[in-house]
């Protein structure tokens, strides 16, 4: 049996440009969510977690020409560059695959005035992956996952399986989405956006806060390339569907339960007390958080400490599963539980064990979950070797 390890990672978000910077900001209780009246993004002022594009353009200008790449392509290239720096692999050999995770890619190219020098062909998600592939001289044709809010976890699951079955030695998983009027107006039309910073699982939660960001996880079956101590493995993962409604989660949580159950079986978890903590999806909509609480109850996990990281990053869509997995991996590395920013009083019917403050304790394993439009759910299990 092939083991799959986390070789390295990177997060670029409102809270920083490395995983460490992002993790330290979470640990310090800093949020990336700000109040914005940027009319290019929304007709009405809104809360969102926004990237500092001046910082990104300065950084990117040192390695390539800013005018030739879109915002998302810059994030993906910078994020992968940092993750590759932490390990030694030859990206040009045929043992390495790139998987890109995104929901809307370069959707801002639909607007004529945006990026006039950029070919509209880059609206195609595969073209974004091709551009990143060419930049890093990767030998294999990249894969792209576009599966709403579970895209990131589905990409990690896909990459893990491709390594386990021996098709590749290393898989670079990079996911990102940027905030556009397209996406913000859509969530506004659903009346899903919170008028205040989101409050996951709280009794007064009012909806989602959106965010933009990018995350990279490099998976490998070769532990000798890993430089950090107490190597972390991906022990399992699974996806599922609610079969309930295209824009509303299940009332029972059975879909997410199936993904969790399949993941824990693959990870050979016999007793739930082997699970250190759960990083839930926790978008702070009324229905999503309630569904997740019910799924945790079905899985017998209501006693396990749980957080949602949306209060730090907002909902970063195609990046969410990756960014939140990385913070969870750094929680394991640092033996530190990160609380749910914005949460005060339980507002779901199951009494789940919300993490409310930073807590240092020995942590060995973590379950990460996600759910999204189209009834999709996914779960991944991480463990120290």
């Amino acid at each position: 049996m092939v083991d799959v390890y986390i070789a390295s990672d990177n997060i670029i978000s409102s809270l920083g440009i490395t995983s460490d910077e992002n993790f330290q900001n979470c640990k310090s209780g800093n949020t990336g969510i700000v109040y914005s009246s940027e009319t290019k993004l929304s007709q009405t002022p809104f809360y969102a977690s926004l990237i500092n594009w001046n910082r990104i353009n300065n950084l990117f200008g040192k390695i390539a020409n800013n005018a030739l790449y879109t915002k998302l392509e810059k994030l993906l290239i910078l994020s992968i560059t940092d993750a590759l720096k932490q390990i030694n692999i030859h990206t040009s050999d045929n043992k390495t695959l790139l998987i890109v995770s995104t929901t809307k890619g370069n959707i801002e190219l639909l607007e004529q005035e945006n990026n006039v020098d950029i070919d509209k062909n880059r609206l195609h998600l595969w073209e974004i992956a091709n551009i990143v592939q060419k930049y890093f001289h990767l030998a294999n044709e990249p894969m792209v996952v576009s599966h709403a809010c579970v895209s990131g976890l589905n990409a990690i699951i896909l990459g893990t399986r491709l390594i386990k079955s021996g098709q590749y030695e290393n898989v670079i998983i990079a996911g990102g989405d940027i905030l556009t009027e397209f996406v913000i107006s859509g969530f506004q039309s659903f009346k899903a956006i919170s008028p205040n910073p989101c409050k996951p699982f709280d009794i007064t939660r009012e909806g989602i806060t959106l965010g933009e960001g990018c995350g990279t996880i490099i998976l490998t079956s070769n532990p000798t390339i890993i430089k950090y101590k107490e190597k972390i493995k991906v022990l399992g993962g699974a996806s599922s569907n609610d079969a309930n409604h295209i824009s509303g989660p299940s009332r029972t949580g059975d879909g997410l339960f199936y993904a969790i159950d399949s993941t824990l079986k693959e990870a050979a978890i016999k007793n739930t007390n082997e699970i250190g903590f759960i990083s839930a999806h926790g978008t702070a909509t009324a229905y999503n958080d309630e569904m997740e609480a019910k799924a945790l109850k079905l899985a017998g996990l209501t006693e396990i400490p749980v957080n949602s990281l949306k209060g730090f990053f907002g909902h970063t869509l195609g990046a969410a599963g990756i960014i939140e997995s990385i913070i969870s991996i750094h929680s394991l590395k640092n033996n530190t539980l990160i609380p749910t920013l914005g949460f005060e009083n339980i507002g779901v019917t199951e009494n789940i064990a919300m993490i409310t403050q930073v807590k240092e304790e020995k942590l060995n394993t973590c379950l990460k979950t996600a759910s999204g439009f189209g009834g999709s759910n996914a779960a991944v299990f991480y463990s120290k070797s």
Binding site: Q43, T103, S240, N241, I246
Partner: protein, 220 residues
Amino acid sequence: MKKQNYISNHCIIRNNKVLLNGEMLFSMENPLSYNDFIKTAFRSQQITYPKFFKMDNLSKLGFLTSELVLKSSKIKEYKENEIAVIIFNSSSSLDTDMDYYETIKDKANYFPNPSLFVYTLPNIMIGEICIRNGFKGENMLLISQQFNSIALTETVNNILNNGKAKCCIAGWVEYKRNTDNTFFQNPFYDSFLCLIEKNENDNKVNAEFNIENINKIYKS
């Protein structure tokens, strides 16, 4: 660990034709539009499902292909969480993205519509298939420039061979708006779904699920 899986049914919808297991099930000469074709094809199959008419172009295509692939299958013998749906395409949901963008483009005529916005995600097509049939197993929507039989077989085999599902509806569902400024703005659509099972079956198709067979059927 190489294990053999089997194709028990396959359906292709393209060029105003519907082929089930290689046999012509429906065809239409000179339909007025894609919508005319897909709705007429749907009605010709005596399927009762009013939600079909609310779906976007991509979902209609994937949905009808899945209905036909599942017809005369043994899908009911599986549990809800044993059935996976894995679909690839090239253009994601760009057709509906363009429609949705029209609703926000003009600030004086700004009417973002949630029932349109939800279809700006290609995996909604998988959601529609799962809702219709009560499927709760593995889901994955992947994008590739062209039909890629290697990626398709790898992805599906990794699910079936690791006990993540016992059968899988998988293939390629592509709908691309013609954005050229030509008079006849016909879209390009190309849908190909298979039902893949772990065991051999008594269907006449009963082909081994491998790259060669997938290419042969796709190109037929």
